[in-house]
């Protein structure tokens, strides 16, 4: 077995193992026999069914979807922008989503509308960046896009700051802070039912086109010589990455690290070829966020913000991997 295949097998195995573990543990104790009965369709206590089907199950699946989406979007962007420091937020999707959510909280809307505004905010932000960035002629198109993303991102960030400043300090401000910290604590089956299809809708074209994505890293004229319209391909990739990130962030809030460093971890294992990289990055992203979220909901009576743990666990893991691997970027 080649080391690449081994990477897939290990990552896939870890994912399956973690998923089983994640279903088995939680603040609400559920025994193995109760879990088996539930799986076999035998009658169990009402609470067991609620916990597994309404609370823990959706949360585990959401962690998988959000982790995979963020990692995939990060991988696509890092390849496309030929830049190792790029994260899914480079074109403003999370900042736009954050502004939408903060506006929803500021207006005292319900969960559904807060999520809707977050999702729409992410799409609108990237749409705006793409619209402006692609009209700035006379520059490298990628550079124009990145710079527009940074500038618009800062603008949206200041709008968030303004809303925080104006928000009610006792009630809305803590709610905004919690949202910006990110969490999978409030996931419901309905959230998952809406976010997962949208994320998959974004993932599908990326997976189908993954072999062609390498061409995005080439300068436009070279790619054209190979018969590929990079502009069209780039638009498609940005649309797909935005769709899945916006869907993920709308239900989870902002969770950093995954989209930035998981692609690197995957690249250290299988190299830069996008066709091989994408599936592994998705497996690793899903497994990593699931591991982190499982800790978040089990280690204390209160929730631990995932952003804290992603960095706390991810950083040493990443440095270890980096020291171990010999492969260059």
């Amino acid at each position: 077995m080649s080391s690449r295949t081994l990477s897939y097998v290990l990552a896939g195995g870890a994912l399956v193992g973690l998923t089983v573990l994640a279903f088995a543990v939680g603040r609400y104790p559920i025994s193995l026999s109760e879990m088996t009965s539930l799986l076999l369709g035998q009658p169990v206590g009402a609470n067991v069914e609620t916990v597994v089907l309404q609370v823990r199950g959706p949360r585990v699946l959401a962690a998988l979807v959000v982790g995979a989406s963020l990692a995939a979007a990060g991988t696509a962007y890092q390849g496309m922008f030929r830049n190792p420091l790029v994260s899914p937020d480079i074109l403003g999707v999370s900042t736009g989503a954050a502004l939408g959510a903060v506006l929803g909280i500021f207006l005292s809307l319900g969960v559904f509308f807060i999520q809707l505004l977050a999702f729409a905010g992410g799409l609108v932000a990237v749409g705006l960046v793409y619209f402006i960035g692609s009209r700035l002629r006379g520059h490298d198109p990628l550079l124009a896009l990145v710079l527009t993303g940074v500038v618009i991102g800062t603008l949206l960030g200041s709008a968030i700051a303004l809303l925080k400043y104006l928000a009610d300090p006792y009630n809305q401000l803590p709610a905004i802070t919690y949202w910006l910290l990110g969490s999978l604590a409030a996931i419901t089956p309905r959230d998952l039912g809406v976010a997962a299809p949208l994320a998959l809708l974004g993932l599908a074209p990326m997976l189908l086109l993954r072999w062609r994505m390498n061409l995005l890293a080439l300068p436009d004229d070279e790619a054209r010589a190979l018969g590929v319209d990079t502009r069209k391909l780039r638009t498609l990739v940005v649309a797909a990455a935005t769709l899945m990130t916006a869907a993920a962030v709308a239900v989870s809030g902002i969770i950093g690290w995954v989209g930035l460093l998981i692609p690197h971890a995957a690249r250290l294992l299988v190299g830069p070829d996008f066709g091989r990289l994408l599936p592994l990055a998705m497996l690793l992203g899903a497994a990593f966020l699931l591991a982190v979220d499982t800790l978040c909901r089990t280690i204390a009576t209160i929730e631990v913000p995932p952003g804290v743990l992603t960095a706390l666990i991810g950083t040493p893991f990443f440095l270890w991997l980096f020291a171990l691997a010999r492969r260059s970027w």
């Binding site: 939680g26 319900g110 969960v111 006792y170 009630n171 919690y178 909901r297 209160i302 929730e303």
Partner: protein
């Protein structure tokens, strides 16, 4: 000669400042002899200054909204918006504070070192005496008296302080007679998954009422908890301040099996003109004590809530609510019954 001397001694220039008084953070405050205009740095302070001497309050921290204004006499509801000065996020501009020509700045709430140093700094900058007082429920009477002394309204403040003390003692006595103590969970935010542990300012009312707070073990402060944890606690009563959460809890399958939901004992705190239960953390929470007391210990909190609320409004908001307004306040779905 003696008369001339007396005149000099009594002239405003001579007695520009009184004997210094100590505020709750131990700082010396020298208010002018006649305090006519008071700037309240946050909602809990606004509320007390307004209760003691409404004509001395120079403005609210935030303009009254259309649904809040009818609870106050018109001329006070229209007071200008001046911003908050301390606490989480300053919105007040020091020049606005100066322009308000206040004789005294007061803040009621935490009296810790960071707020004390901020008060000292603003006082240095503006030359307006800046006093800090304790905002805890059980310190309300003493804070009222201190404020009254600084503002030159001892008599008004004493009436309010005595009444407040009497009400708290009476509530405590009702608590002590209660035999059943249901397990209660306070759910904040749209998901209802934020709460406060024992000692948290957010659940000061629960601590005052000696209630069995399901989340007592959570940290003292605002805390996010997993819903699985709430299912384990399985509270018998849920109190909330969030109308979105209250409305969704009945149909959300995750909450269905919680005892409080099954027994239809999830209650929504009124929030007009100031919140009753949690925020702002001021004297307004006496309303929350009565409300939560009635919901937790219905046998001993067997008084007429309407009359009590009307009395609080008359004393602290200077306007007795009409019967229709009281009906609207207490008849809101979730306040006392679903």
């Amino acid at each position: 000669m003696i008369r001339a001397l007396a005149l000099v001694l009594m002239s405003p220039a001579f007695c520009a400042s009184q004997v210094p008084a100590l505020d709750a953070s131990g700082r010396e405050i020298r208010p002018p002899v006649k305090v006519e205009r008071v700037y309240a740095a946050g909602p809990p302070a606004s509320l007390l200054v307004f209760a003691i001497a409404p004509d001395k309050l120079v403005g609210w921290t935030r303009a009254m909204r259309a649904n809040e204004a009818p609870f106050f006499p018109d001329r006070y509801a229209q007071l200008p918006e001046l911003g908050r000065l301390t606490g989480r996020g300053n919105t007040a501009n020091v020049e606005v504070v100066l322009n308000a020509k206040a004789d005294l700045i007061v803040d009621v709430g935490s009296t810790g070192a960071s707020l004390a140093s901020l008060a000292a700094q603003v006082q240095e900058q503006t030359k307006i005496p800046y006093a800090l007082f304790d905002g805890r429920i059980e310190a309300t009477a003493s804070t009222l008296r201190s404020l009254g002394r600084l503002m030159g309204n001892e008599r008004e403040a004493e009436v309010l302080a005595r009444w407040y003390e009497k009400e708290l003692v009476e509530a405590k006595e009702r608590v002590s007679r209660a035999t059943e103590h249901p397990l209660v969970y306070y759910g904040r935010g749209v998901s209802g998954l934020q709460t406060g542990g024992k000692g948290s300012i957010t659940v000061e009312i629960l601590d005052f009422l000696g209630a069995r707070n399901a989340a007592a073990e959570a940290r003292a402060g605002l805390a996010a908890v997993p819903i699985e944890q709430v299912l384990i606690w399985n509270p018998e009563v849920i109190l909330t301040t969030d109308p979105n959460y209250w409305a969704s809890v009945w149909t959300d399958p995750r909450w269905r099996s919680v005892k409080a939901v099954a027994a239809k004992r999830v209650y929504l705190s009124p929030n007009l003109p100031f919140g009753w239960f949690d925020f702002p953390p001021g004297a307004n929470r006496l309303l929350g004590i009565w409300w939560a007391g009635k919901l937790l210990y219905p046998q001993t909190f067997d008084f007429d809530l309407r009359a009590k609320v009307a009395e609080f409004h008359r004393l602290f908001y200077h306007r007795e609510p009409s019967a229709a307004r009281l009906d609207a306040l207490l008849g809101e779905p979730g306040v006392l019954a679903r």
